[in-house]
Structures are given as structure tokens and as C-alpha cells.
């Protein structure tokens, strides 16, 4: 069986499953956020009754992150709906925006977008928060009401996005009927060259199979090249399985996975036991691709979908209005370090926004020092508008007052994961997806630029 089949067989209590089987799968974690949580709770109550209890309050993780730093009153209300539900149900893990468990969240626009407005429990973008707070474990099944839930596949688990109705069902029963997906095999070999990042790997793969090339399928990443990728890198890759239509993306387990997961579970006091899955000899794949990491070059997905693959060096004629680094896929500490390494000592020539995925990442960047400056200072001195209000921000547009949102038909290069029309705001705006290094180089020139032009020579 493939990694995905092995996990689903285990979660279904069966010795074997194969692609195409419909099986009832036991969930280990159900995650929801402020955009889909209120609707999921509504479905749960409508169907199981007003006094119903969730199947396991320690397996439901609630992470407000999408429409937080906005004056839109319905969005603020939605965070309050989550808080009320958490109190009523005794939910174990809720990363609230405010510290008062019976308070109300109201964003104060008069204090601006850049200065921190959240409390101590807030954890930022759900997928990144799940990993940092010790909720992603090898061998488990994670359902989330968000399509990029597949990011947790970096940790050798089955993780997939579901809708509110399915999530309401899981909330009440702990189970979901799933069709076992076929698996596509991506064997990674070698090592990335300087200036080339994990984002380039996944944009390359999506370009190879097309934006719907993995529909209803699992994308399995393994091979000797994986050892050269950090956990952050693997998250970037697994995150975008959905951009090829994939049901999930999944990596093999190794010592790096173990070190990350053990540390995080201990830090937040979450369940420490887990059982990874390994490859076996009779894996069946419906597709095979070998990727030589050493041959990849900085890659861009052009407007209007993630499959529009080009090389950065071919796109010098595309003039840009803005640049953006952030999101679950591109707003991690390692992403900002690459971004800052290109920008250091230089100045951006277009509006450039930086939104760390989580408060922990804000902290990392404000404490990491390069010489006499913090990385945060390096970025702000380069002209980047950095916000301390970690979250989804303009990655999905959001309410009109969202930080970094495109409210006009602009062209933006972005380290996020999705670029369908209107994704970052205005429906005639255009988004070009690229690595943080490519975003940095492009912010310096105002047109799409290969970051290797800015690497130190020799």
C-alpha cells in the first residue's frame, strides 16, 4: 500500500484498502477556523440538536485566523461565535484572538494595521499553527474545514480539506466516509541550487501535471532529495497539493519529522505518542515523476491559475505593482529569512507587504539578529510594510479593509499559494506565484526577476 492507503486502512480498522474503496475513517483531529467554523457549528447543532456534545472536545481544534484584523462587524462576530461554542463544549484547544474567555473581539482600525492587536493565545494561520502547537502527528488523520489542510501531509499524516457539512458530521461522530484516492508518485533527488526554494519544486510539479492533474488523488513525495528539505520546505510542498486538485500530499517520515513533532508536542503539552507509516513493496502508483532538484530554476505560476508555469528569467517583461510575502505556504520564518537575505541593504521599488503566518514567526524575526539589526529591521529598512498581526490577511482578499488587499486591478507577485482571478481582492487584479526569494528580487526591480541576479557572487 502507499503511505496514504496505509493510514486510511489503519483509520478504517482494516488490514488493507485500495484506491477506489469507500471506507469509514476515524478522525484524530478536526480543525476549523473563523470563516467555516460558525457554519460548521450551525450544521452540527441543526443536525445533532442544540444540546449535543462534540465527539471528543480534545480532538477539535479551533483556530481563528482568516478575517481577524478587520472592522467588519460580521467577521468580528464570527470569532465570538467560536468562543461561545468553545465555552459551551469545553473544547481543549482554542487559539483565541483575545485573552478574556467571555469577552468580545473588536478590531480597532484607528490603531493601524501594523501594531499587534491580538492577545497571548492567538496562534495565527491555522495550518502553521497546527504544526507549531503540536497537533500534527505522523500516521494520523486530520480533517480541516480549509483546502490547505493538506499541508500537514509534510508530517507523514493524512490531512485533507472538507466542507462544513462533512465537518459537522465529523464533529458529531468522529468519522467520515472517504473514497481512498489513487496515488501519484513524486520522487525527489539531489539538492536545490542557491536561489531556488521549495516553492519552485511544487510549482514545477503542478506545471508538469496541470492545475487539475491530481484531482481525487494523493501526491506522495519521497526519495533521497527529501532529506535535503527542511520541515518548512516540506510544508510548502504539501500545502499546494490542492493547487493541482489533490486530495492530500504526503511525505515519508524521517529523523527531521520526528525531531519537529516531538519538540512541538512537548512544548504545548499535546499527545506525544504516534505511529508513523512507512513505504511498503507493493505500492501502486497511477503516475510517476522523478524530479532532479539540482536542475530546478526559480519558477513562477502566472495569472490566472497555479498551473501556468514559467521560469522567472523568462518573465522580465512583466511589470508589477506590488509584492507580498505571507500565508501558510510562504509566510514561515525560513521564508522571511530568504526574503530578507535578498533584500538586505537594498530597497524595494514597489509596495511590498510582509505578513508572518503566526505570532511565533513575528517573534522569531524580531529576535533574530543579523549584525546590529534584527531581521525585522532589515525588512522594514528595505521598505517592506511588515505587520505584527499574523494571519491570512490578503492571501484570500478578505474584507475590503484587509491589510495588503488589492482593491484595484493591480499586478502582484506573491509567495502565497493560489492565483485564480480575484484571489487577493479585486477581480481584475493578477497574481503571480513565486518563492519568497523571487518575490524579493522582483520587489527590488519592479518586474518579475530571477533572484539569482542578487545572490552574492563566487
Amino acid at each position: 500500500m502507499t503511505l496514504t492507503e496505509t493510514i486510511l486502512a489503519r483509520a478504517a480498522g482494516k488490514a488493507r484498502v485500495q484506491a477506489g474503496d469507500n471506507v469509514w475513517v476515524q478522525a484524530d483531529i478536526l480543525m476549523t477556523h473563523d470563516v467555516c467554523g460558525p457554519g460548521t457549528i450551525g450544521v452540527f447543532k441543526r443536525e445533532f440538536g442544540q444540546t449535543a456534545k462534540v465527539w471528543d472536545p480534545n480532538k477539535v481544534v479551533i483556530i481563528p485566523d482568516h478575517y481577524i484584523f478587520t472592522a467588519d462587524s460580521k467577521s468580528n462576530r464570527n470569532v465570538d461565535i467560536l468562543r461561545d461554542f468553545v465555552r459551551e463544549q469545553g473544547i481543549g484547544y482554542f487559539y483565541d484572538v483575545i485573552d478574556d474567555p467571555s469577552g468580545h473581539w473588536v478590531f480597532d482600525p484607528s490603531r493601524g494595521s501594523l501594531k499587534r492587536q491580538h492577545g497571548a493565545h492567538y496562534a495565527g494561520v491555522c495550518h502553521t499553527a497546527l504544526t507549531q502547537k503540536g497537533h500534527t502527528r505522523p500516521g494520523e488523520v486530520l480533517f480541516g474545514t480549509d483546502s490547505h489542510t493538506c499541508m500537514a501531509g509534510a508530517f507523514n499524516e493524512f490531512a485533507t480539506g472538507i466542507g462544513n457539512t462533512d465537518a459537522g458530521f465529523v464533529m458529531g461522530t468522529g468519522k467520515l466516509l472517504l473514497k481512498v484516492p489513487e496515488t501519484m508518485h513524486f520522487r525527489l533527488e539531489g539538492k536545490l541550487q542557491p536561489g531556488v526554494m521549495a516553492k519552485d519544486i511544487i510549482l514545477h510539479c503542478i506545471g508538469e501535471i496541470g492545475f487539475d492533474g491530481a484531482t481525487y488523488r494523493a501526491m506522495q513525495f519521497d526519495g533521497p532529495g527529501v532529506a535535503n528539505l527542511s520541515m518548512d520546505d516540506r510544508m510548502t510542498i504539501a500545502n499546494m497539493a490542492i493547487e493541482a486538485g489533490g486530495k492530500n500530499g504526503i511525505f515519508e517520515f524521517d529523523a527531521q519529522t520526528q525531531a519537529y513533532v516531538d519538540y512541538r508536542c512537548k512544548l504545548n503539552g499535546t499527545k506525544a505518542a504516534y505511529e508513523p507509516v512507512a513505504r511498503d513493496k507493493d505500492e501502486k502508483f497511477v503516475y510517476e515523476l522523478v524530479v532532479d532538484l539540482g536542475k530546478l530554476e526559480p519558477t513562477v505560476a502566472c495569472h490566472p491559475n497555479p498551473g501556468q508555469r514559467k521560469l522567472a528569467k523568462e518573465l522580465g517583461s512583466i511589470k508589477l505593482d506590488r509584492a507580498y510575502v505571507g500565508s501558510c505556504t510562504g509566510g514561515k520564518t525560513s521564508d522571511f529569512l530568504e526574503f530578507a537575505a535578498v533584500l538586505r541593504g537594498r530597497r524595494v521599488v514597489i509596495d511590498t507587504f510582509g505578513v508572518p503566518a503566526t505570532p511565533e514567526i513575528v517573534h522569531d524575526l524580531q529576535s533574530a539578529r543579523w549584525g546590529d539589526k534584527t531581521v525585522w529591521q532589515v525588512l522594514t529598512e528595505a521598505g517592506v510594510q511588515m505587520t505584527e498581526n499574523a494571519g491570512c490577511a490578503a492571501c484570500l482578499g478578505g474584507p475590503v479593509d484587509t491589510f495588503g488587499r488589492m482593491n484595484a486591478p493591480l499586478k502582484c507577485i506573491s509567495a502565497t499559494n493560489r492565483n485564480f482571478p480575484g484571489r487577493m481582492g479585486h477581480k481584475d487584479s493578477q497574481v503571480f506565484l513565486a518563492s519568497p526569494a523571487t518575490v524579493a528580487a522582483s520587489a527590488l526591480t519592479g518586474k518579475i526577476t530571477d533572484p539569482r541576479e542578487f545572490l552574492p557572487k563566487g
Binding site: N22, V35, C36, P38, G39, I41, G42, V43, R46, E47, H66, Y67, D72, K74, S75, N78, I81, T145, D146, S147, T149, G161, I162, G163, N164, T165, D166, G168, F169, G172, T173, F211, D212, T215, Y216, G245, K247, P304, N305, L396, G397, G398, P399, V400, R418, F420, P421, G422, R423, K427, D428
Partner: protein, 182 residues
């Protein structure tokens, strides 16, 4: 259970993602709150760029659409997992989406909510029809018939998922079949 639907079609092309079906700025609306459910319908397809789709799916100031059938190309409903997408269409009065292919989560959400029938057609119906053409969709026969020409197109039977939509979604279906207690 209604299995034949007749009315004008609304035609869109490939790769219509959930942001075009229901733009992210309206996700502050909670589908299980009745008047917010209605409002979601008013914004169905509000994210389609006007350049490609000059006609609006729901007219300015209306809550419902005059098009009960949507015809699309490949990969309809790709992108986010937001259930607001099939709900917005269903709330606006869409009964059937006929596409060359669907993205996985949209397909699943259409079925789980029971909002609409997602039918896959091997023919490229988005080239065969234009917005406003009147057709009859027969779910039992698996056919779409164009009113003006009488031409008949076949689509794939819905199979396992048909009774789930017929029942009005996952929960009703699960109760009817004893998967969860009544």
C-alpha cells in the same frame, strides 16, 4: 423527487474557482443563519470577471437567479473548501451544474449539502451552449436536450451520490439509511 429540470442555462468556462463562485469578502456570511443564506445567493458568481461574463448570474438587487442550470468546462469549483460555493448557487436557485469535470471538494460539498446535482458530461457543453439557451436535464435518462434544436447530449450517471442529493444531503441520507440514528 424532481428528476427533470427545464430552464435557461448560464454558461461559464474552464477552471471556475470558488472565489469566482462566491468572492472571499462575502465569507463573513454564515450559511446556517437563514437571512445570511439568502444573501449568499445574491452574490452567487459575483467574482466572475465582467470581461469574460457580461451577463450577471443574479441581477442587481435580486436574491435569486433566472438560470436553474449552470454549464461549465473543466475543473469547476476548484480552489478553496468553502461550502459557501455550492450553497450560494443553491440559494440562488441553481439545481444542476453540468461540467466537463469538477474539483473534488466542490463536488463533495454539493452532494453533502444536497444543494445541487453535479453532473459530469464528456461533451464540452460550454462550447455547445450559450447563456440563455433553454434546455431540459433528465437525471434518470442522463440527458440534456436543447430546446431550440432538439439535440440530445448524454452525461455520466450520478451513481452513488444521486440518492444523497435526492435525500437533501448527507445527514438526511445518513438517517434514512441507518448510518446515524433518526
Amino acid at each position: 423527487m424532481q428528476s427533470v429540470f427545464t430552464g435557461p442555462v448560464f454558461v461559464v468556462r474552464d477552471n471556475i474557482d470558488t472565489d469566482q463562485i462566491i468572492p472571499a469578502q462575502y465569507l463573513n456570511l454564515v450559511p446556517t443563519i437563514p437571512d445570511e443564506y439568502e444573501k449568499l445567493g445574491a452574490y452567487a458568481f459575483a467574482g466572475l470577471p465582467e470581461s469574460a461574463n457580461p451577463e450577471r448570474y443574479v441581477k442587481e438587487g435580486q436574491l435569486d437567479s433566472e438560470y436553474p442550470i449552470v454549464v461549465a468546462g473543466r475543473n469547476f469549483g476548484c480552489g478553496s473548501s468553502r461550502e459557501h460555493a455550492p450553497i450560494a448557487l443553491g440559494s440562488a436557485g441553481c439545481k444542476v451544474v453540468l461540467a466537463e469535470s469538477f474539483a473534488r471538494i466542490f463536488f463533495r460539498n454539493s452532494v453533502a449539502t444536497g444543494e445541487l446535482y453535479p453532473c459530469e458530461s464528456p461533451d464540452r457543453l460550454c462550447d455547445a451552449f450559450k447563456t440563455g439557451d433553454v434546455v431540459t436535464v433528465d437525471l434518470d435518462a442522463g440527458t440534456v436536450t436543447a430546446k431550440s434544436t432538439g439535440k440530445v447530449y448524454k452525461f455520466k450517471p450520478l451513481g452513488d451520490v444521486r440518492p444523497v442529493v435526492d435525500a437533501g444531503g448527507l445527514f438526511n441520507y445518513a438517517r434514512n439509511t441507518g448510518m446515524i440514528p433518526k
